[in-house]
């Protein structure tokens, strides 16, 4: 199987605070990695490095074999232009904890915006695709609603459809259900399970252990800016080897 995402020794500091201290991760095509870890361990920062929302200080990240944010020429790294970075980001979908839908656009327009404006695809075609995507996440009836008229779970499903509309090679989820009322978590996880079944490569930061156990191919436990332990969900969740993993799991399970 080919590698879709490869992170090598990723370091990142904010000022004097070193948030990532050498994170390694590989996700094969179609693989699902769930990242667990306590608050402040650098999970969000790591995800944001993958699509270059945050610039890493050391190490490298490749998506589908292509270096993110830089070009290597003659043994030297050159920063990519804003335009080239934007081009790379088109292939990396991201879903945020707080949805971040565009409130001045309907659900349909939210989904259509990027394919129409960024990729300049034909409007009619995008519209059909967007409607199909919204139908797939169970929102066929809500296409003309504004985000302010949708429940949290519905908004997050629109956000997933919006990311999918760009036909990404990999999807990054940053605690997609953490801002939701408990009864709405299920509908979002259902959509994500469907995606995983359809072979989407996914990196999911989550506190939903049940989801990780069921869907993940690999569970990664992060703490203090490093990967403490990783492996198949059955092993990590049922039988963690590291003290820190045990301590964390005993709190969330």
């Amino acid at each position: 199987m080919t590698e879709m995402v490869r992170a090598e020794s990723v370091h990142k500091s904010f000022g004097s605070l070193e948030v990532l201290k050498g994170v390694d991760l590989t996700v094969p095509q179609g693989g699902v990695s769930c990242v667990l870890g306590p608050s402040g361990s650098g999970k969000s920062t790591f995800l944001r490095c993958i699509n270059h929302l945050d610039k890493l200080d050391a190490g490298r990240i490749l998506v589908d074999g292509e270096l993110v944010g830089y070009r290597e020429r003659g043994g030297k790294l050159h920063e990519l232009s804003e335009r080239d970075v934007a081009k790379q980001r088109q292939t990396i979908g991201m879903v945020f904890q707080r949805f971040n839908l565009f409130p001045h656009m309907t659900a349909l327009d939210n989904v259509m915006e990027a394919p129409c404006r960024v990729k300049r695809e034909s409007k009619a075609e995008v519209r059909d695709r967007a409607l199909a995507l919204l139908d797939r996440v169970g929102l066929a009836e809500k296409v003309d609603n504004y985000p302010g008229q949708l429940s949290g779970g519905q908004q997050q499903r629109v956000a997933i459809a919006r990311a999918l509309a760009m036909r990404p090679k990999v999807m990054l989820f940053d605690e997609p259900t953490s801002a939701l009322d408990p009864e709405l978590v299920g509908e979002v996880l259902e959509v994500m399970k469907g995606l995983a079944r359809d072979g989407m490569t996914m990196i999911v930061v989550t506190h939903e252990i049940g989801f990780a156990r069921e869907v993940a191919d690999e569970v990664v436990f992060m703490d203090g800016g490093v990967v403490v332990e990783k492996g198949p969900p059955a092993e990590i969740i049922a039988n963690p080897q590291q003290e820190r993993t045990k301590a964390f799991l005993s709190k969330v399970l």
Binding site: L53, R83, A86, R89, N100, F102, T106, E113, V118, D144
Partner: protein, 329 residues
Amino acid sequence: MTHPTETGRERPAAIKAVPVRHPGRWVAIAVLAVLVAMFLHLIFTNAGFRWSFIFTSYAPGKRGVMFTEPVLEGLRGTILLTVFSMLIGVGLGIVIAIMRLSPNKVLSTVAWVYTWFFRAVPRLVLAVIFGNLNILWTRIGFGLPFDKQIGQLFGIDNFDGQIFSVKSTDLLAGFVAGMIALGLSEAAYMAEIVRAGIQSIDEGQSEAAVALGMSRGQVLRRIVLPQAMRVIVPPTGNEVIAMVKDTSLVAYVPVTGELFFQLQQVEARTFVVLPCLVAALLWYLIICSVLMVIQFFVERHFSKGYGAAGKARQRLRDIQVEQGGRITT
């Protein structure tokens, strides 16, 4: 009428209660009514106002002073001046706001200095200065910068790199000088308004847009500014209305094609003071009322997806769908 509910019980009749009385309000209304009546009485029975002078005819064979030819010209000047100086103000203001928010220190400092300067200088002073700038520079042109100096560097006297130029008394006088003075001043205020608007938008919005692969320009145009408009429009309405009134300052440039100046001219000719002032007041009231109506519609446009307006539109749609109608967007 009663409807059976799902539980099979009957829905009780709608509440018909006696509303709470507010005697204080009625007293206040009565007092206000008397005051308004007194005010109207004062105005309409005092011959000094000379309403016919204002509305019907201010001199034999002439229209009322509000509608006489030079005053209408002045009105046109005031409106054009407002429109053009606001266009300069808004356009330049957006650019300066974006510069101010730029991570580039040079750009943000330049923007800061601009706002500092033009907010500090009174508009009246600016207007007079711009009316006199043509003393400093006799020609204004567009072309190679520092052409004379570059020419001298290569030993050519009088090297001319200007593509076109005009005598500055032609360009920088009267209307244009007033328009530029007001526009530049306005840009400083608009820059602050736009900056506040942009900064009021959640960081997550541009982050989500960037993550979709949008460029910084697209993020600004499509995502941030449309949302910021909700915050920008109301104070901009204030600015437009203030500008209508500030156009009277250009009389000092001097510009003659302006409402208040023209009415003062009539005043000087006829020695009728108050009616001319009242005519000016009425015109300003009319312009500002029209502007407020426009503002209402602009605000409604940019509140799409927010609060009551968006919800009301959705309710309409839901009703249409319920009644088997088609969804129109």
